[in-house]
Structures are given as C-alpha cells and as structure tokens.
Amino acid sequence: MNKPRIRTIAAAIALVAAAGGTFAIAASPADTIAARQANFKKMGGAMKVIKDELAGSADKAKMAGAAKTIAAMARAQVPLFPKGTGPGAGVKTDALPAIWTDRATFDGHAKKLIAEADKLVMVSGTGNAAAIGAQFKAVGGTCGACHKQFRADD
C-alpha cells in the first residue's frame, strides 16, 4: 500500500536532483557574462602588474605570477562564450554578435592568446626585462586584435 507513494517521493527527489544538476551545469547567461568579465578584469590587472614592474623595480616573482594569471584566465575564458550570451542576453556586454557568426576566427584568437601567454610565463621566469617587454607586447597585440573585431568600442 505504501509502496507507490514511496516510489512517487523517490521519483520526485530524483527529478529535483536532476533539475538542480542541470542548473549547476548550464549557468544563466548573466552568470556566464559576469564570470568572463571578472576573468578579463583579472587579466587586465595582471597586464598592468607586468607593465608597472617593467617600468619600476622589475620584480621577477611578481611578473611571473601575473603571467601565470594571464595564461590561466585565457584558458578559463574558452568555455565562457556559449551561444545566447551575446548582446541579446539582456545583460550589458561588449561582446559583439560576430563572435557567434565567425566562431572559427574568434577561437583562433583565443588559441593565439593562450600560446602567447604561455610564452610570457616562460620568459617572465628568466627576468630578462627586454624579452619580457617584447612578449608583453605580443600578448597585448592578441588582446587588441581580438577586441578590434569582436568587442564593442567604448
């Protein structure tokens, strides 16, 4: 007599758990946009650390730490541009629709950024200011190239 009821409750629990799980996997567009903006901000801050160090005391550890942040954030950004997180998402974003119409180019920029950021991590360990400066510019170049095409100008 009690059995169907227990089954119903179990099914309900399973359903709620499944729904909860789905929510955890597919974050809302607003959350995704906020997450990638926070990552970009960390990257910008890390770029500034390197720039300031090169202009000042050139602290090797600080520069290496910042370079690692850039490389890690570059990787973290890759899954944060799913469809539906463009200007139509109802949240303020500078991401242009071109990201989703020209995805291959966008992904190419992302790959290039990761490669250049990894090189920056390597040279920052050497403490060679000239080499770090040159690689800093290479990383900056990939930021600029992608932004020119895929980010609204402010």
Binding site: F40, K41, M43, G44, G45, A46, M47, K48, V49, K51, D52, E53, L54, A55, G56, S57, A58, A129, A130, I132, G133, F136, K137, G140, C143, G144, H147, D154
Partner: protein, 225 residues
C-alpha cells in the same frame, strides 16, 4: 588709419591656439587608439595648462585671474546690464568664469588621463603605476566624463564668440590672432605689457616637471614598454 591697442599678450594667444590644436589632435588620437600620440599630446596639454595657471598669476593685465575671476555679485550685476555694456578687454565677468571652468575641467581631464588604464591593462598614463588596476579604470571613467564636459564648455565658448562676432558685431577672433584691436575714437587704453624673461622661467620649470611626469617619476626603468 585707426590706432590699435594691444589687448592680448603673445603667450596667451600661443596658449589659446596651441590648446585648440592639441585638444583636437588628442581627440582624434584617442578615438583612433593612437595611444603613443595621445600620451604625447596630453603631456603637452598638461604643460600648456600649467603655464596658463602660472600666467594667470604672472602674465599681462588681461591674462591675470585677478582681472577676470570676479565675485558672483559682480557677475550678476554684469549679467543684468549686459545689454548696454562696453567692450571689456580681456575676459568679461561672465566669460571669465567660463574660462576658469574650462581650465578646471581640462586640468581634471589631463590629470585623470595621467592615471588612466585601458581595459586590457596594456595602455596607460605615465602615472598609472601609482594606482591599482581598478583605480586606473576609475581614472579612465573620470577622463571620459571630463572630456564630455570639456566639449560642452567649448561648445558654449564657440557660441558666445559667434554671438559677439556676428550678432553684436564686435571682432573677438581678430584680437585673439593679432593681439590687437582698433581703438575707438577718443579712447585711451594702455597696451598690455608682459615679461618674456618671466614667461621663459615659468616655461622651463613647467617643462622639467612635465618631463618628470612623463617618466612617472621613475628615472631608472628596467625596460621600455
């Protein structure tokens, strides 16, 4: 031939027209992301503005703040009888405040620019090293707001000049170029006098300061970025 009287000294006129040129160039270079040019141009504007502040204390009669920054009471009294005013050499009580406001806004604009950082942490003003990334981004916001305020004030300035030039029929643009205006019949006004030596000393000190600013007050840097 009508007699002329000198109403604007050379430094004021050089300041005015160089500022116009550099402001336009800064606008263009900023919009087009020519940031190296934008920084250079901005630093020159810093020098110009500092010189103008110095000249407001040390310049000729019409250049001095004491001559054109008046108490609100005087400005009101002037505004009430503005219809029958006579030509004032230098800035009139209302225009004086417009000049003071423009100077303040431009000083805010360039100071914020010195501390600004772009979103990528890639381009920054020479003093951005003294602020955090967030601080630098806030400076960039102020830079943007001050730019819009400056455009508004410049618009007002141009309208006021246009009003006098074409509706009142008083030539204000000519004297800002040549420094001189026609003397009216029976009028006795002394020409403005200024000291080139004083101007040079002020300019030298200001250029040294701006050079130090351009280096971010760090004279031994590890690398050039």
């Amino acid at each position: 031939m009508t007699e002329k009287v000198r109403v604007w000294d050379v430094p004021v006129r050089l300041f005015h027209w160089s500022l116009l040129g550099l402001f336009t160039f800064s606008w263009w270079s900023g919009e087009n992301h020519e940031m190296e040019w934008h920084r250079q141009s901005g630093l020159l504007i810093v020098a110009l503005l500092l010189f103008r502040v110095f000249w407001g204390l040390a310049g000729s009669r019409t250049a001095r703040f004491a001559q054109f920054v008046k108490w609100p009471g005087e400005v009101l009294a002037y505004a009430r009888k503005a219809s029958d005013e006579h030509a004032t050499d230098g800035h009139n009580p209302l225009g004086g405040w417009s000049v003071a406001a423009l100077l303040l806004v431009l000083l805010t604009l360039v100071t914020a620019g010195l501390f600004s950082v772009d979103v990528d942490g890639l381009e920054s003003g020479p003093l951005a090293g003294f602020l955090s990334f967030d601080g630098g981004r806030a400076a960039a916001e102020i830079h943007e707001i001050a730019f819009k305020a400056a455009l508004t004030l410049i618009g007002l300035h141009v309208c006021a000049i246009g009003y006098y030039q074409f509706l009142v029929g008083r030539d204000l643009i000519g004297p800002m170029i040549t420094g001189r205006r026609d003397l009216e019949a029976g009028e006795t006004v002394e020409s403005v006098r200024w000291s080139p030596l004083r101007a040079l000393i002020g300019l030298a000190v200001i250029l040294a300061l701006v050079w130090a600013i351009s280096k971010g007050f760090q004279f031994a840097s590890a690398g050039d970025v």
